[in-house]
């Protein structure tokens, strides 16, 4: 079983987003980037499968700048190989273009199972796994948990609305968008990551892609606040009284 994990770095929301209000552009170089949390879960699920059935795990990132640390961290956690798709990419590269590059790579390099985070904070409609599967005409499922390998089939769960869950099965090759791994993503000690940086390599694969149909971002802007919350100041008892008064005024409590 050869598993490919797609990983991506996203703006770190611990820092404020850097936005040029005049031009409506995100200032990518002024922001810090961290591995997408959902991709960490996809990697963990892949590593759990590796622990269980001995799969070979490759982690892949599109070279949008500083992705090496993310890839070496994945190697330190237990991934077998790391691949960086190089070409005309930067932090502003669209998901459509990234998906095309990943699909091209997958045509030349066969994998049985592709796991990706179900979404990323800069792509909350979960585009990449679906687009990769679409471009390759592979089966795809999203919002997936509890992946297992059963003979030549992959079994997994999918969440539906209203608290319903489904157990599904699919043949490989297959692309899954992982909602959460069965365990919290494992920790890679700094010493191990640094050791990986010295002892292992990231395979660079040229993935220059043809032009793809893309959306043009006209501008980014901060939402305009419609109203403000009222902050109630004072001693806890006064604040509690005021809250009760407001609740009564709005007829939200009886008595």
């Amino acid at each position: 079983m050869r598993i490919l994990v797609l990983s991506k770095s996203v703006p770190d929301l611990v820092e404020e987003l850097a936005l040029d209000e005049d031009s409506g552009e995100l200032l990518h170089d002024d922001m810090t980037y961290v591995p997408s949390e959902w991709d960490d879960h996809a990697l963990e699920e892949a590593l759990l499968l590796k622990d269980e059935v001995g799969a070979e795990v490759t982690v892949l990132a599109v070279d949008t700048g500083d992705v090496d640390n993310m890839l070496f961290t994945a190697l330190a956690k237990g991934a077998d190989h790391a691949v960086k798709l190089t070409g005309d990419f930067d932090l502003a590269t669209s998901n459509r273009k990234r998906a095309q590059a990943i699909a091209n790579y997958l045509r030349d390099n066969p994998f049985d199972l592709v796991l990706s985070g179900v979404q990323a904070i800069d792509d909350i409609d979960g585009q990449i796994p679906a687009m990769v599967a679409g471009l390759l005409e592979w089966p795809h499922a999203s919002v997936v948990t509890e992946v297992s390998i059963q003979g030549d089939q992959i079994h997994f769960r999918q969440e539906y609305g209203g608290g319903l869950q489904a157990e599904l099965a699919a043949q490989t090759p297959l692309v899954l968008g992982i909602q959460a791994a069965r365990k919290p993503p494992r920790y890679a000690s700094v010493a191990k990551v640094r050791q990986m940086m010295k002892s292992s390599t990231v395979d660079e694969v040229d993935a220059s892609a043809d032009a793809v149909p893309e959306l043009e971002i006209r501008r980014f802007f901060k939402p305009v606040a419609a109203g403000h919350a009222e902050m109630i100041e004072g001693e806890p008892d006064e604040v509690a009284d005021r809250i009760i008064t407001i609740l009564k005024e709005r007829k939200l409590v009886r008595g």
């Binding site: 770190d12 820092e15 919290p184 920790y187 000690s189 191990k192």
Partner: protein, 420 residues
Amino acid sequence: MQKAKPIELELAVVNGIELPGHWNRMFEPRVISEYDLSVLDQVTSIEGAESLGYCYQCGKCTAVCPVDTVGDYSPRKVFRRTQLGASLVDSPDLWLCTTCRNCLRVCPKEVNMIEIMPAVREQAVLEGKAPEELLTAFENTARYGNPLGEPPRKRADWVKSAEVPVPVMSQHKAPVDVLWFVECYPSYHPRGKDASVALARLFNALGVEFGILGTEEKCSGDSQRMAGEKGLFEMLAEHNVKMLSKYQFNQIVVTDPHAFNAFLHEYPKYGGQWPVQHYTQFLAPLIDQINLTRPISKKVTFHDPCYLGRHNGEYEAPRNLLKAIPGLDLVEMGHCRETAYCCGGGGGGMWLDSFVRDYTSQRLSEKRVREAVEYGADILAVTCPYEVSRFEDAVKSTGNTGKLEVRDIAELLAYSAELI
């Protein structure tokens, strides 16, 4: 004939007194102690953890271990359980030690938990057996340079509330006398920032030529090292040494005793050799120059931080500062100076609150707060950034709100000098 090798330390030094053990030297396990020692051997074969094997179970450590007073942990018990074949890497024991150093103070065999704990914990971290909340603190530190997960770019934002000049070295572009290494909690924690503001105003009132690294500073990493993340510590040490090396200054003054420990004993190994003082040591000789006009007519007791007192031998400077405040009545608790109790924050304890709660009857900080109340103190004076938040929480959780205030010494001085 080859000389038989003792399985204990040949000569231990306790409080400067040599304790040769030749009269009761043990060369092999006695019949009564013929256990399968393979599990103990696994631990003592880890570099740094060798001295666990020296334990001869006198139990002196148990008598002074703060954790033993609230739970079922002491260095002797760690040895005994390991000797009987229980895996230390899998045991909660491994995460309960706060590296307070009280056991080493009394141990006749120099069983050194200060070296054993980080060494075995490192192994546990590598095997993925460390508590989740501790790993979160490690990850935050690796990613943001502080265990709180606060934005690195806002590390120096507290200076705005100081309302006095706090030069940041990268903009100051001139040599200074004192490089103030502020550390994480004094930069980000609301109560830590209060102490930083107080100290900044004291420095200004004294006319100290000082500067801070600002966003170029990262956590000193000493507690992460003690909690088993040596690689992270090395990365932080290399970074801080590199940043500090860019600037000219005469000495480093630290707010945090844990940073003090790192700069004294560890950073020199990474090329960072500078004279370093804890801020209480820096201020003590200058106390006559601080205009302490506003009396604090309260009973004040002082909690010795483990890493200022027991680890590094400074007991007087904080007390001299407190005694200089007019009206202040300094009372000592039973556990003070060398025998001081621990706040529970050291050795990673700061980030193991939920984990430790499952194995202890109360927090060490709660026990300490109860002791301060017992001695009739109105104010618990502290001088380690972990302590203000730990003890203030403990005051609330032990139902002592209104009875005991927790104040950093810098806050008390600045208040008395009418700077805050």
